[in-house]
């Protein structure tokens, strides 16, 4: 519910072109932080196979307008948990895919990307990402409020990886995400 409220709020703000009311959302933010889900816990050791399965699952529920023969997954920014993906993800069963680390975020470098696994990036890079026009599946490693414009925001916990959804980002992406996943994401954020 909270995510949907936040997402809707974002959507409304984006649509109307108003500046984001950061202070107004402060109460909800503080509440979330108090729950402990917002701050990344460095002690959490993520099982790469588990992460790979989640990424693979999200990919499997996503439809591109023109399905590529080999799906290119770009790795962006400083990865905290996703270092193992390069080896783990191709081992999961499913469609053919290729992983490619992208050092710099711009339209040219990311031209062939169908999906982007995003770690720590600067605000500037984040803005550049927003300007990309191709249908791109975006997964963000750390974005507790899921307001960075990525479609899926992963949440890491002990023995569990869940994700939040930014419905507006999904709607704007030009991709078709299976409602089952939308529902799951929706649910996954519930306390």
């Amino acid at each position: 519910m909270r995510v949907s409220a936040v997402s809707l709020l974002c959507a409304v703000l984006l649509c109307t072109g108003l500046p984001a009311p950061r202070f107004e959302a402060g109460a909800a933010l503080a509440h979330t932080i108090a729950q402990g889900a917002a701050t990344p816990d460095p002690s959490i050791v993520v099982d790469s196979a588990r992460l790979a399965r989640v990424v693979r699952g999200i990919i499997s529920y996503t439809k591109w307008p023109e399905e590529p023969a080999v799906l290119e997954v770009c790795l962006i920014g400083t990865l905290r948990h996703g270092q193992g993906l390069e080896t783990a993800l191709p081992q999961t069963p499913g469609r053919a895919l290729r992983l490619r680390p992208v050092a710099r975020v711009d339209a040219e470098a990311m031209a062939g990307c169908h999906a982007a696994y995003i770690g720590e990036i600067s605000a500037e890079e984040q803005d550049k990402l927003r300007l990309l026009t191709q249908p791109l599946l975006t997964l963000r490693e750390h974005d507790p409020l899921c307001r960075s414009g990525s479609m899926f925001c992963l949440r890491f916990a002990e023995k569990r990886i869940s994700f939040d959804l930014n419905i507006d980002a999904v709607a704007r992406s030009g991709l078709r995400v299976d409602p089952k996943v939308l529902l799951l994401g929706y649910r996954a954020d519930r306390p």
Binding site: R53, G57, P93, R160, S162, K180
Partner: protein, 423 residues
């Protein structure tokens, strides 16, 4: 023992042997109970099978739904999401266990209905018998089977049905039994009652010889036929009995009466005389005895033949009867000898008057079969009791003597007339 025909055996037989009413009631009850029980059992089994099959279909449907709901969570191996996704499914009544088992055999998530009190073990046992195998529905993702949903159903609904069905069957049994008893009672009225009538009439006929009784009509053809035949038999018996009685009467009449004159005979006379004398002795009443015989009857017989003699005797008898009516006993003792017993006698004069009138009556000529007339003179002797004395033998002797005295005196007089000689 059973076939002895003594009344005692008959009564003990009626105690030992079942009555038709009871036999019919028992039979009705048995037939009805057996059929109702069979019907109930059939409905129970058929209902059980149908409901079980519906329950399995329902389980399969639930499984399909669970498979769809659980797909995404299974893909992500997210147990928490799985639990949340399947929460509505497990809240349903008909499931005791649900498990998501991955293709590699690992159980991703399992839920079992918590222990539900006292009947739980029994219920689990029943579930195991009624649904021995779990319903298995595959979970597919992108046309690949990634897991299986294993569902175990709860037989609670089925057991409830069985309980209700058994209760309903029992209620039906009771209702059927009551109906059977009512119907058998109604049938008893149409079958047993006519038979009881028949029995009562037969008994009454045997014991009281009431041949005039008849069995009433019945609505059942066979019993009606039996009753008709029985009634016909009774009618025949009645007619036969009547004929026998008449013959007896005529034989009795013959035994006590003289066939020629229709008067009483000597046998009856002796009995009556004895009775009159003893009665006279007790009450002090008087009895008069008149002896009468035909003078020269031998001559009539010899000269005119026995037919004419018989005609004379018959006419004498008829005239005596006409004179006396039923008031006194008139007897033909044999041959041409007649006797009249006057008992009780009011006075000796009454006897004298009667004797005179007899002589008067006999003075009339008698028409013979050949058309000729003849006058038969008679002699009459009279004797009285208790005068002079003694018993009926003395009375007889006295009357006899008086009559012969009269006869002799008539001969001495030489006239053809009659005479009366009282003792």
């Amino acid at each position: 023992m059973k076939y002895r025909k003594t009344p005692r055996a008959a009564s003990s037989r009626s105690q030992e042997q079942p009555r038709l009413r009871d036999v019919m009631r028992r039979l009705h009850l048995r037939v009805t109970l057996v059929s109702a029980a069979l019907a109930g059992l059939a409905v129970l089994l058929a209902g059980f099978a149908v409901i079980r099959s519906y329950a399995l279909d329902n389980l399969a449907l639930i499984g399909q739904s669970a498979s769809y709901t659980a797909e995404a969570a299974t893909v992500f191996n997210d147990e928490v999401a799985l639990a949340e996704a399947l929460a509505p499914t497990i809240s349903r009544e008909g499931i005791t266990e649900i498990a998501i088992i991955l293709s590699d055999g690992r159980t991703l998530w399992r839920w079992q209905r918590p222990d539900a009190g006292a009947g739980h073990r029994l219920r689990q046992w029943m579930n195991g018998i009624i649904f021995p195998d779990p319903v298995v529905v595959p979970v597919s993702h992108q046309d690949q089977k990634i897991a299986e949903v294993h569902l175990r159903g709860d037989a609670g609904g089925l057991l409830r049905y069985v309980v209700v069905a058994v209760a309903g069957a029992l209620a039906c049994l009771v209702f059927s039994a009551i109906t059977a008893l009512i119907l058998s009672r109604r049938l008893q009225n149409t079958i047993v009652r006519p038979l009881l009538h028949l029995t009562a009439v037969a008994h009454s006929v045997r014991v009281n010889r009431t041949f005039n009784r008849r069995v009433p009509a019945s609505s059942i053809a066979e019993i009606s036929a039996l009753a008709d035949d029985f009634n016909a038999l009774l009618a025949e018996l009645q007619a036969w009995g009547e004929k026998l009685r008449q013959e007896n009467e005529s034989l009795a009449h013959l035994a006590l009466h003289d066939s020629l004159t229709g008067l009483s005979n000597r046998v009856r006379f002796e009995a009556s005389l004895r009775q009159a004398v003893s009665q006279g002795r007790e009450t002090g009443g008087q009895v008069a005895l008149l002896f009468m015989d035909c003078n020269d009857f031998k001559a009539i017989n010899d000269q005119l033949g026995h037919a004419c003699g018989d005609a004379v005797l018959a006419e004498i008898g008829a005239r005596i009867t006409k004179l006396l009516g039923d008031a006194h006993l008139a007897v033909r003792l044999g041959g041409d000898e007649f006797a009249i017993l006057l008992a009780p006698l009011d006075s000796p004069a009454e006897a004298q008057t009667l004797a005179d009138r007899l002589l008067e009556a006999m003075a009339e000529p008698i028409r013979l079969p050949d058309g000729s007339d003849i006058t038969a003179s008679v002699s009459i002797g009279m004797a009285f009791f208790p005068d002079p004395c003694g018993d009926e033998e003395a009375l007889l002797d006295a009357a006899d003597k008086a009559m012969y005295e009269a006869k002799r005196s008539r001969r001495r007089a030489g006239g053809p007339g009659a005479d009366v000689n009282p003792v």
